[in-house]
């Protein structure tokens, strides 16, 4: 991340210096202001969903629901940490249901829990699953198309679903591939590979 940040920052900075030096500080402040506004709105969103998920956890329902997909999640994330897996499962289901704002606080807590046990693989996998998330109902796009006067605003449903299915498969495959290159003794040839795909197929039915 340091490399990405440095490269983009320096390139943008140089460009400002050459074209419009007086726009640089306002642009930075505008970004920071957006962050402050976003943080406030996220605070309210997280309040609601973390309250909701605490009730879900305390009632025992969350454990009950995630127990069914536990074996799949264990393999997908290569983790035995029950609490972290529960958070990760809830994160993925919230994602698929398209509950706005709900997956993030769970994802953050699951990532923290995975990293505490030094399970970088699980953290990467969870991140990529979120960053290539399956879109069952692209509500924002449908609403925007509707307001732009589309004849059938929902007809992009199928291509979007297939495209996100594809991104999820590619993303998880790449994480698995990187992990293999970093520590080749972790995987077991093609057997592992087939497992990854199958695991993933299962976890989608959450």
């Amino acid at each position: 991340m340091n490399a990405v940040f440095s490269v983009i920052f320096l390139a943008a900075c140089l460009l400002f210096l050459l074209t419009k030096p007086d726009g640089f500080l306002p642009a930075m402040l505008a970004g920071a202001e957006k962050a402050a506004v976003l943080a406030l709105s996220l605070l309210s969103v997280y309040c609601v969903w973390l309250g909701f998920f605490k009730v879900l956890e305390r009632s025992g329902l969350s454990q009950k629901l995630s127990r069914r997909v536990r074996p799949l999640a264990k393999r997908l994330f290569r983790s035995d940490d029950e609490a972290a897996l529960e958070l990760a499962c809830n994160n993925l289901s919230a994602n698929m249901l398209g509950l706005p704002g709900a997956p993030t606080p769970l994802g953050i807590r699951a990532t923290e829990a995975f990293l505490k046990r030094n399970n970088g693989y699980a953290a990467d996998m969870l991140f990529v699953l979120n960053a290539t998330s399956l879109q069952l109902l692209p509500t924002t796009v449908i609403a925007l198309r509707l307001s732009a006067g589309s004849a059938s605003p929902a007809d992009i449903f199928m291509p979007t679903l297939l495209a996100t299915l594809f991104t999820t498969l590619v993303g998880t495959f790449l994480v698995w591939l990187f992990a293999r290159f970093r520590s080749p003794n972790l995987g077991h040839g093609t057997k592992r590979r087939r497992l990854t795909v199958k695991k993933h197929g299962g976890s989608r039915n959450l």
């Binding site: 970004g31 609601v48 990529v128 960053a131 998330s133 925007l144 495209a163």
Partner: protein, 169 residues
């Protein structure tokens, strides 16, 4: 869309009834969860700020425009209409920025045109990769290049496939 509108209140109702049956103290429990929001926001804020400053510099400074011009032939080769190239580039950085671009594309080319449909799929299948990575890995010293690269490559290939699907479906 109606379904989604029903889903959320129904979820809350079902869960809270179930929790009451299990003798959960709803008020205490809900507030206990909500309390976690404050430290969570405090811990992600600096990363959020850095990311949004970066995204602002990226688009306001003209860097995204230059990259768009540079990458357009490459995009065309892969079947991505050049009109949606800015959208594809800004999506990983900024959700609100890409929403604005999507509206502009709909206004300019119509939501039912090939370009409009491609833009819709590109928007819907992509995620704000940098934002998610900033928030999820807030405070960790982990090497992030590989997972971010994996997500970006997957999202980009998703746009290519999405544009192809728009031509067939």
């Amino acid at each position: 869309m109606n379904f989604v509108a029903l889903l959320i209140p129904a979820l809350f109702l079902a869960l809270f009834c179930y929790a009451l049956k299990k003798r959960v103290k709803l008020y205490d429990c809900f507030t206990e969860g909500a309390k976690q929001a404050v430290p969570l926001i405090l811990s992600i804020f600096p990363y959020l700020a850095a990311m949004l400053i970066l995204s602002e510099l990226f688009s306001a400074g003209g860097l995204s425009a230059i990259l768009t011009r540079f990458l357009t032939p490459f995009f065309e080769l892969l079947g991505i209409p050049p009109e949606i190239a800015p959208l594809v580039l800004i999506k990983p950085f900024s959700g609100s920025g890409s929403t604005a671009l999507l509206s502009e594309i709909f206004a300019a080319y119509g939501p039912d045109s090939y370009i409009g449909r491609c833009a819709a799929v590109a928007y819907g299948s992509g995620e704000t990769v940098f934002y998610i990575s900033a928030v999820y890995f807030a405070g960790s010293k982990k090497q992030l290049l590989l997972p971010i690269a994996a997500a970006l490559v997957a999202n980009f290939l998703g746009v290519v496939v999405g544009c192809l699907l728009c031509r067939i479906l």
